[in-house]
Symmetry: C2
Subunit: 289 residues, 2 copies
C-alpha cells in the first residue's frame, strides 16, 4: 500500500486537538505514511508520541519538515507567519503547506509573500473543535461530519488544492470552497460573534454587584450550557479578535441592532412584536437542528 | 403510612414538564396521597393519566381542587391570576396554593388580592427545566440537585411556607428564600437575559443577507449548543418579557455596556485589554462549572 498512500510524510506543527486529531484520523484511514510532530512543548510531544498521535518528533522546524509532502500548521493564528518562515529552509520542492487557522485573510497576507517557487500553500479551516486542548485532547473522529472550508487564492495550485481537499474528505469532513472574505465574515457570524456575546454575558452577570453574593451561583443548566464557550482559551480569542477585526465589528453591530429592536419591544411592552421576534428566532434555530 | 404522608391530596393545574415532574417525584418519594390533574388539553391529561403522572383528572378547576391540601399552579406566568380566580370557589379552608412561575412580583400582585382568609399562597420557583414540554416530558429527577426559590411576602403563613419548603426538599431540591425583587433581578440576569441574547443572536445571524445562502448552515456544534435556548417557547418568553420588564431592561443594559467595552477594545486592537476581558470571563465561568 506504501505507493498509494495519500500523504507519505506529514508534518504537524502544533500537535494539539486540531493537529493531533488530523494525524489520528489519517492514520486510522491508512492515508498517511509517517507523521512527524513539532511544537514548543516537549512534554506535549512526548505525550503525543506515547499516544501514537505522531511517529516521531523534531524540536527544530527545519528538521521537522524535511522530506514532508504536507505540512499542517496548527499553531495559534497570529504565529502562522513566523512558523512558516521557520519551516521554509527545510521544505522540499513540491511540498504543500496548509493550515487550520480560524481567520483566513490575515493568515494569507502573512504567509503568501514568504513563499518561493515550488512551495505550495492551501489556506484551510476545519470547522470543528472542543473546549479541550493539547495532544491528549485529540481523537480521530473530530472531523467526521464537520465542514472544512478551503479558501484558495489566485496563487493556489490546483493539484495542491486537490490533495488537501482529498485529505479532509478522507477524515470524514465535507469540504467547501469560498473566498477569504466570505470565510472571515461567515466565521465572524457563526463562531466569533457568539464567543464575544458569551464572554460579555458572563462578565455582565458576574460583575453585577447589587447583592452581596455572586448571582452566578444561582445559574442552572441553561446558563451553564449557554456560556460554555466563555471557558475557551483567552489567548486564542484575543488573536482572533485582533486578526478578524473588521468582520467581527460588523457582526457585533448586526447583533447590537437585533438586541436593540428586542429591547425596544420589551420597553413598550409590545406583546405581538415580542412573540414575532421569538418565533422568528425559534424557526431559524429549529431549522439547523 | 397514609397518615404521615406529606400531602394527602395534591392538585396540579397545568400537567406539563414542571407540574408533571413534581407529581412524579412526590409519588416516587411516597410523599403524596392522590394527585389530581387539571388543564386545558384533554389529550395531555389522558396521556398524564396513562403515564401515571396523575391519578385522575377534572376539567373543571373547582372540582379539581376540591379537598386538595396543596394546589400547584404550573400554567404560563400571565395566566396565574385568572387560574387562581377559577380555583378559589372549590378550595377547602387551610388549602395552600403555590406556583412555579419564573417571575414573582407580578404573580404575587395578581394572586394575593384575590385570596380570602384561610387560603394560603406561597410564591415559588423551581429553577429547573428542559426545552421540552407537556406531560410526556415530565420525569421524577428534574428537580434533583436544583435550587427552588421561595419568595414569602408579609402575608405568607409560616406553616404554609414550611410545608412547601418540605415539598421541594422531598423532591431533591435545595430551597432558598429571597425577596420578590431579588428573585426577579437574579432570574433576569441568569435566565431571562441569556434567552434575550440567544434570540437576538440567532435573529442577527439568520437575517444577515450579504450572501445568497443562509449562513446559519455553516454553524457547528458550538453555535448550536449556544443557541439551544432560542428554541424555547415564544409564548412563554413573551410573557416573561412582559412581566419582568424592568429587571430585564436593567440587565440588558448591563450586558450592552459589557459588550460595548469589548467592542471598543476590538476596535482599538488593544490586545492586553482583550486578553484581560476574556480571562475575567473564563475565570467567572469556570468557577460555576
Amino acid at each position: 500500500m506504501a505507493d498509494t498512500v495519500l500523504i507519505p510524510r506529514l508534518t504537524i506543527i502544533g500537535v494539539g486537538l486540531i493537529g493531533g486529531s488530523l494525524a489520528l484520523a489519517l492514520k486510522a484511514a491508512g492515508a498517511v505514511g509517517e507523521v512527524v510532530g513539532c511544537g514548543r512543548g516537549k512534554p506535549n510531544l512526548e505525550k503525543a508520541l506515547e499516544l501514537g498521535v505522531i511517529d516521531r518528533y523534531e524540536r527544530d522546524p527545519v528538521k521537522a519538515v524535511a522530506g514532508a509532502d504536507v505540512v499542517f500548521l496548527a499553531t495559534p493564528v497570529k504565529t502562522l507567519g513566523v512558523v512558516t518562515q521557520q519551516c521554509l529552509p527545510g521544505l522540499k520542492a513540491g511540498a504543500i503547506i496548509t493550515d487550520g487557522g480560524s481567520v483566513k485573510e490575515e493568515v494569507v497576507k502573512a504567509i503568501e509573500p514568504l513563499l518561493s517557487a515550488g512551495i505550495h500553500f492551501v489556506p484551510g479551516h476545519p470547522i470543528a473543535g472542543t473546549e479541550n486542548s493539547g495532544a491528549e485532547a485529540a481523537f480521530p473522529s473530530l472531523y467526521h461530519g464537520k465542514r472544512t472550508v478551503l479558501t484558495p487564492t489566485g496563487n493556489t495550485a490546483p493539484e495542491a488544492l486537490g490533495l488537501i481537499r482529498k485529505m479532509w474528505q478522507t477524515v470524514g469532513s465535507e469540504v467547501v470552497e469560498m473566498s477569504l472574505e466570505k470565510h472571515d465574515k461567515v466565521l465572524a457570524a457563526i463562531s466569533h460573534l457568539p464567543h464575544m456575546v458569551a464572554y460579555s454575558l458572563v462578565n455582565a452577570v458576574g460583575s453585577y454587584d447589587h447583592y452581596e453574593e455572586n448571582i452566578l451561583e444561582y445559574s442552572a443548566g441553561g446558563f451553564r450550557d449557554f456560556t460554555r464557550i466563555a471557558s475557551s482559551d483567552p489567548t486564542m480569542w484575543r488573536d482572533i479578535s485582533e486578526t478578524n477585526r473588521s468582520a467581527l465589528l460588523e457582526m457585533i453591530g448586526q447583533f447590537e441592532n437585533s438586541l436593540a429592536e428586542l429591547k425596544a419591544d420589551i420597553d413598550t411592552g409590545d406583546g405581538e412584536k415580542l412573540f414575532e421576534f421569538f418565533l422568528r428566532s425559534k424557526q431559524l434555530r429549529d431549522a439547523i437542528l
